[in-house]
Symmetry: C2
Subunit: 353 residues, 2 copies
């Protein structure tokens, strides 16, 4: 098969981790007889620096023309703590999600047996955790009308959802649950919010189409608690944009493997794969960043965007092997062992595929 992949390395450690994911993907393509064309494009702070906007039209064209997008990270300290700056990298992220119609953010949290002791949680609490959040990504309070009144003394943000938006996200949730433990949790705040009541009634109405799926409804505050107490009691969770922002990040740290968690954002026109760890500015250019989350994001891309399960499994297998054999960057190194550099880990993965 032939693929055209848009390559958005972004800021900070983005280019370094992307580089390793490209090496591994090319090796997999060679092994399985595929042909990948990578098309790099600018996004984030580096796009602001180069052309003045964080998500240039040219980048958008490249993403639209691609079979999938592989994304690194965006964000730069010079934009931090200045959320009112006229142009910011995050705006590019939101614009990209909206223009590419990436309405479903797929955020798995799982554990690696060899890393379980990195978790802040006790072993018996975290063992066996394997959950997936589907976070709605193009609606809600992120994209509603916002502004000021009364000479700037009053600020407002509008949260809006339509039934159709809820349905398309929930459909993905039901379908995903069918391929897993058939448990779906709808996370809302239906005791307070009208948008949540729309979410709940819409999901309730869809239950009959998936009689095998056991659906539960939980309030967002209760989920924030149970994620810490019994994360392994969850399977698939669906939720709106802002709740998803908070809960997926909470979920990512409980595993102790945040530096390894991949993600996908899927939608109408294309799909995008990225590590969840961000741009980690302090490590930029040092060749120390952990490339595994990006490599595992590429595995998700092979499986979900291209339907190539064997290729994805091969990537996951070699990642597991590197973890077991301690071929890891300094963030995962155990006391007394040697840390490998970002590119050494990538080289090892390629050599051991």
């Amino acid at each position: 098969m032939k693929f055209n992949i848009a390559l958005l390395a972004g800021d900070g450690i983005g280019p370094e981790v992307i580089n390793e994911a490209v090496k591994v993907s090319d090796a997999i393509a060679k092994k399985f007889n595929h042909e990948i064309t990578w098309t790099p494009a600018l996004t984030g702070a580096c796009a602001i620096d180069a052309v003045g906007v964080p998500y240039p039209d040219e980048t958008h064209e490249i993403c639209m023309a691609a079979d999938a997008v592989l994304f690194g990270a965006i964000g730069h300290p010079k934009y931090d703590n200045n959320p009112s700056a006229p142009v910011r990298p995050e705006q590019g992220l939101l614009l990209m999600r909206k223009k590419l119609g990436l309405f479903a953010n797929v955020r798995p949290t799982f554990t690696f047996p060899s890393l379980i002791d990195n978790s802040p949680l006790k072993r018996e609490r975290i063992e066996g955790t394997d959950l997936v959040f589907l976070r709605e990504l193009t609606g809600g309070i992120y994209f509603g009308e916002k502004g000021r009144r009364d000479d700037g003394e009053t600020a407002f943000d509008n949260c809006v959802y339509t039934r159709v938006e809820v349905q398309r996200l929930a459909k993905k949730g039901f379908e995903l649950a069918m391929t897993r433990s058939k448990k779906l949790c709808c996370v809302d705040k239906a005791n307070v919010l009208e948008t949540s009541r729309l979410w709940r009634e819409t999901v309730q109405a869809m239950e009959k189409d998936y009689p095998e799926v056991e659906v539960s409804y939980e309030f967002v505050d209760a989920v924030a608690m149970r994620l810490v107490q019994w994360p392994n009691s969850y399977d698939v969770l669906i939720t709106e944009n802002l709740f998803g922002d908070i809960l997926t990040d909470e979920a990512s740290v409980i595993s102790g493997s945040m530096g390894l968690m991949p993600s996908a954002s899927v939608g109408e026109h294309t799909s995008l794969y990225e590590p969840i760890h961000g741009s980690y500015p302090q490590a930029t250019g040092l060749n120390i960043a952990n490339p595994l989350a990006t490599v595992l994001s590429a595995a998700m891309m092979f499986e979900d965007a291209f339907g190539l399960k064997a290729e994805a499994e091969a990537i996951r297998a070699v990642v597991n092997k590197s973890l077991e054999q301690g071929i890891v960057t300094e963030d995962l190194v155990s006391k007394g062992s040697k840390a490998y550099s970002t590119s050494q880990v990538g080289d090892w993965l390629v050599a051991n595929l």
Copy 2:
């Protein structure tokens, strides 16, 4: 001194735990020569059953006339999973907060040395945790305009904040920080929300009035992570209503002592003290519920509402003693030990004051 306290026992285990807090408060009053008049009033599901509304006018009058309000819990399973029911106990809670002007919810999370192993977190992560959230409680998306359009196909909730609302909450935060470690964290989502940008700029402008307080600004998703990773890195946190709902509940489970956490809601007309654990319907009437969170809420009331620190310390001391000596309800009992009933724990506290 003479106090008039409104007593809102509410639903579920509310009446049972309130009963023990009253016993302990009366004993303290006797010991320190105060006189308490308790005025019971209806709220929650039991108020709906009795008079059709969850926060009757008569209850409001009683609260307004009181020096403080001691509150149990509200909620009943018959209203669960039916967030669209025309009358619900939670509406009473929101109405009460608004009408009493309880704009600041004070939610401490701390650890008890004897209970630290109950935490889902590893000991080294949770040890030394002693933080307080100030959650804004009468504004934001909870109280903005909400409704449906397009024949019910579109739902909306409006989040609104004024500078004055932010200032009065932040002022409490700065003042509280001054009495503690002088660290204040403002939790927002200023990279996305206009209301958060108003929060941040308002708090930034207040920094100069409290030069000793070290202020940090963190995004809500980052705080949801750090609370699990390094809860002991926080001191005082201020945030808006919905973020506070989620984060205070998350924070409450990390200590492993959720059943012991008190809270206060303070405001314009009066202040209200309540355990955070909720109505726990399964335990209703069984005399097994843990009364300590309510007893500790009474201690907060003595200290904060009446300015009686010695009285509060005496209550806290006897609670600590009961924990050390294992005079605890079944939720806290260690293997092989005997569980005490709700009223037995209360009796023991009174006898050992």
